[in-house]
């Protein structure tokens, strides 16, 4: 699946990450400042690494030796940001449809309906993002990323900006996503409890380096914030 081997210097910070993922949900776990967001930005193409190689199956996204660097818009990697980043000038429906249109995919009403019912957002489609709650916004952002039919879905702390009640509201949707949609996911979080419910494998980052790669037992070693 995803094969990452990269290095990136950002000021004093040095990120060096090397790991492979299988299908399912890969947790990228670690404390704040470990380089989690930088890592997913590099996978998405928003930041170029200094050196290395990134590939999904046979498709090479970045290779410094072969001078390959696909721009983000050609990577087909869905990205759910911490703050949603919905387009404020477009209705929810047009937000959802944005990736499909930009990727030049034909309209697919059945897929749209499936995602809408999976995320329970049918009653929101005619609204504007400005009028939505944080939890609703994140569900739309997940739907928007899924509807571009991505090779891989990146979720960067998708629950971090939500309160406990909202987190409880979203987590079941993420579990359904994992079980029903079958898109491989890379899920970034510093909360072990959240990841325990959803992840199948874990990459633990610490101070810009991969400290361990393994199963969810890696989460137990860490000091879990017992919020959920």
């Amino acid at each position: 699946m995803l094969d990452v081997d990269i290095e990136k210097r950002l000021g004093d910070f040095f990120l060096s990450a090397r790991f492979k993922t299988s299908n399912g949900v890969t947790a990228v776990f670690g404390p704040s400042g470990a380089g989690k967001t930088t890592l997913v930005n590099i996978i998405s193409g928003l930041i170029a690494p200094d050196r290395g190689r990134i590939a999904i199956d046979q498709t090479v996204l970045f290779d410094s030796e072969k001078r390959i660097n696909l721009p983000p818009h050609r990577r087909r990697i869905g990205y759910v940001f911490q703050e949603g980043r919905l387009f404020p000038h477009l209705s929810v429906k047009r937000n959802l449809d944005y990736g499909r249109r930009m990727c030049g995919l034909p309209p697919d009403g059945a897929q749209m309906q499936r995602i809408i019912s999976l995320l329970d957002i049918g009653n929101l489609v005619d609204r504007r993002p400005g009028k939505l709650s944080g939890g609703e916004r994140q569900r739309i952002a997940i739907g928007r990323a899924l509807l571009m039919r991505p090779r891989l879905l990146l979720l960067d702390e998708p629950l971090a900006s939500l309160d406990v009640a909202r987190k409880r509201e979203i987590l079941p949707y993420l579990e359904r996503l994992r079980d029903e949609v079958g898109v491989p996911m890379v899920y970034v979080s510093h909360q072990a409890a959240e990841l325990r419910r959803i992840a199948s494998s874990v990459v633990r980052l610490s101070a810009g380096e991969v400290a361990a790669v393994g199963g969810t037992e890696l989460l137990d070693a860490a000091d879990a914030d017992a919020i959920l």
Binding site: G45, P71, H73, F81, R85, F87, H89, Y98, R128
Partner: protein, 231 residues
């Protein structure tokens, strides 16, 4: 109502035509310049910024004179345009449009640039991850979100073009029916005996057009703003 003479009507129509053409032609350049200044860093950016603002701080006569020596029939650019493309700007209404467009350009670029700078660039990143290349990102995210600034820039440029006097009269003179705009006509009427009534009529027309443009801009900007917050 106002009893405008045919000559006055000609000056009004000419002014409107010059201002519209100047604004429309300046717009793509204005948007491109604003985007470059807001989103890109490159060698000579400060110089470009200075050049754009130059017509704002130079005496208009100087701008007009610079246009005359470069775009006049014997000027380097003017001679090329006339010989190669058959385009003559000096002492033509098209030259007036050029002068007005250049004078209005800094007023157009500034609000558009500020509007683009105010847009969260992370939305543009989000568009890129969703498959939009730079051009589509600009057209579907940046430009619509900058719409209020865009409207302000268009109106300011139009208003400047409508009232421009110094650079225009220096570059294309004051020829009735060809380059005599409302401003130039008012100036002419103040120089002749019994011109007061005619000058007053044109002054009133200038006020009405300018006010109408401001009101229209305010209305459009409010509608554009509502789209982001309302249902």
């Amino acid at each position: 109502m106002l009893d405008l003479s045919p000559d006055e009507w000609i000056a009004i129509r000419l002014s409107l035509r010059i201002a519209v053409v100047a604004t429309v032609v300046a717009l793509p350049f204005g948007i491109a310049t604003a985007w470059l200044l807001a989103r890109k860093s490159f060698w000579g950016k400060t110089l470009l910024d200075g050049l754009v603002h130059l017509p704002l701080v130079l005496p208009p006569v100087v701008t007009g004179y610079l246009l005359l020596i470069s775009f006049g029939r014997r000027g380097p650019i003017g001679a090329f345009l006339a010989d190669q493309l058959g385009i003559v700007l000096s002492f033509r209404w098209t030259g007036a449009a050029l002068a007005c467009g250049i004078m209005g350009f800094p007023l157009m670029v500034r609000p558009i640039r500020l509007a683009i700078e105010a847009i969260d660039a992370r939305l543009e990143d989000a568009a890129a991850t969703l498959g939009a290349n730079q051009i589509w990102t600009f057209l579907t995210v940046t430009l619509p979100l900058a719409l209020p600034g865009l409207i302000a820039g268009i109106v300011l440029c139009f208003a400047k073009a409508l009232g421009e006097f110094g650079a225009t009269i220096t570059f294309v003179a004051n020829i009735p029916g060809e380059t005599q705009t409302i401003s130039a006509a008012i100036y002419t009427f103040t120089q002749v005996p019994n011109g007061d009534a005619a000058a007053a009529r044109l002054v009133l027309v200038a006020i009405v057009i300018s006010l109408a443009a401001l009101v229209a801009a305010e209305w459009l900007a409010r509608r554009a703003g509502m789209r982001f917050h309302g249902e």
